[in-house]
């Protein structure tokens, strides 16, 4: 059975390369998107850290900002 799976009547090179290309594209897109997300999140945390207490309180009044900070701490 393993031989059949690996040989695929001579079509394995085509089938496995198509599947590999698909999975590698998925992995590449996932890693790229994740990296972009983490970069923006890091930037947000750094900017938030440089705010004055008054500015930070004003920013924290927005629910999204609180969520971003909470997620950044969890990651």
């Amino acid at each position: 059975m393993i031989y059949e799976l690996l040989f695929m009547n001579g079509y394995a090179v085509y089938v496995l390369s198509a599947f590999s290309f698909t999975l590698l594209s998925f992995l590449g897109l996932y890693l790229l998107t994740k990296a972009q997300f983490l970069k923006e999140q890091k930037k947000f945390v750094a900017k938030f850290g440089s705010l004055t207490t008054e500015q930070a309180n004003s920013a924290k009044s927005q629910r999204v900002n609180k969520e971003i900070l909470a997620n950044a701490t969890n990651n």
């Binding site: 799976l5 695929m8 009547n9 001579g10 079509y11 394995a12 085509y14 089938v15 390369s17 198509a18 599947f19 290309f21 698909t22 594209s25 998925f26 897109l29 996932y30 998107t33 994740k34 972009q36 997300f37 923006e40 999140q41 930037k43 947000f44 900017k47 938030f48 705010l51 500015q55 004003s58 920013a59 927005q62 629910r63 999204v64 900002n65 969520e67 971003i68 997620n71």
Partner: protein
């Protein structure tokens, strides 16, 4: 009604959802891969080369679906003057483009054992290539222009022009003499594909749809944080 979908309100959900979607995607993809590579039967004509269908067809379907959604959302963005529609469109585009490339590359790989060539200027393949160019133009516009209003206008124009190509892709196999076979799966009439091949195809389609949802959520959250970063600069 659109207020319910405001970024501020849905961020709580979109920020938590990716990990669950990723988990579900891995499960569905694992089942799909076993079905596609091991359990499903070989074709009487194409033998095992038919297994390429399980990545090629879902990728093509989803790239077409995403482009249609982007067009609809962009038009809605203009009609209802709601920027969130543009934000959703922008977040959908990268996965649509990657699926389009996957469809082209896996189609080319499938072409070699079945047609004896990696590429042919066949109506279906050429129209899919044109769709990839529209995707590329759409993504480039978001990168090169700073003025949001200009981006909204040009990107919507690109999607409107690109959507003309979608029915051409769908019906190219009926309108012209192409190397591609006519559709084997029909929603309105009986499909000519056997259930032993249809189920793996549907499972792989579900896995691909989950992946595009995952990328969309991650991209949407990134765009939202970018906006919030600009907001912090203004404080």
């Amino acid at each position: 009604m659109f207020k319910l979908f405001e970024p501020n309100k849905i961020f709580k959900i979109t920020s938590k959802a990716p990990k669950y979607v990723l988990f579900l995607f891995i499960i569905v993809l694992s089942v799909g891969l076993v079905e596609a590579l091991v359990i499903s039967p070989e074709d009487y004509k194409q033998s095992d080369a038919v297994r390429i269908m399980y990545v090629h067809v879902p990728a093509a379907w989803i790239s077409l679906g995403i482009f249609s959604s982007i067009t609809l959302l962009s038009i809605c963005g203009f009609v209802f003057r709601n920027k969130n529609f543009f934000l959703i469109s922008k977040s959908l585009a990268p996965s649509g483009f990657v699926f389009n490339i996957i469809a082209l590359v896996t189609g080319s790989i499938w072409g070699k054992p079945t047609w004896g060539t990696w590429w042919a200027w066949d109506a279906r393949i050429t129209s899919m290539l044109i769709l990839a160019l529209f995707y590329a133009m759409y993504l480039i516009v978001w990168r090169i222009y700073d003025k949001k209003e200009k981006v909204y206008k040009i990107s919507t124009l690109i999607t409107i022009l690109g959507i003309i190509n979608v029915p051409i892709i769908k019906y190219s196999v009926d309108w012209w003499n192409t190397l591609h076979q006519p559709a084997s799966i029909n929603i309105l009439s009986k499909s000519s594909i056997h259930s032993s091949m249809l189920y793996p195809l549907l499972i792989m389609t579900a896995a691909f749809a989950l992946f595009s949802l995952l990328i969309f959520l991650m991209k949407y959250n990134t765009e939202l944080i970018k906006i919030k970063n600009k907001g912090l600069d203004r404080l």
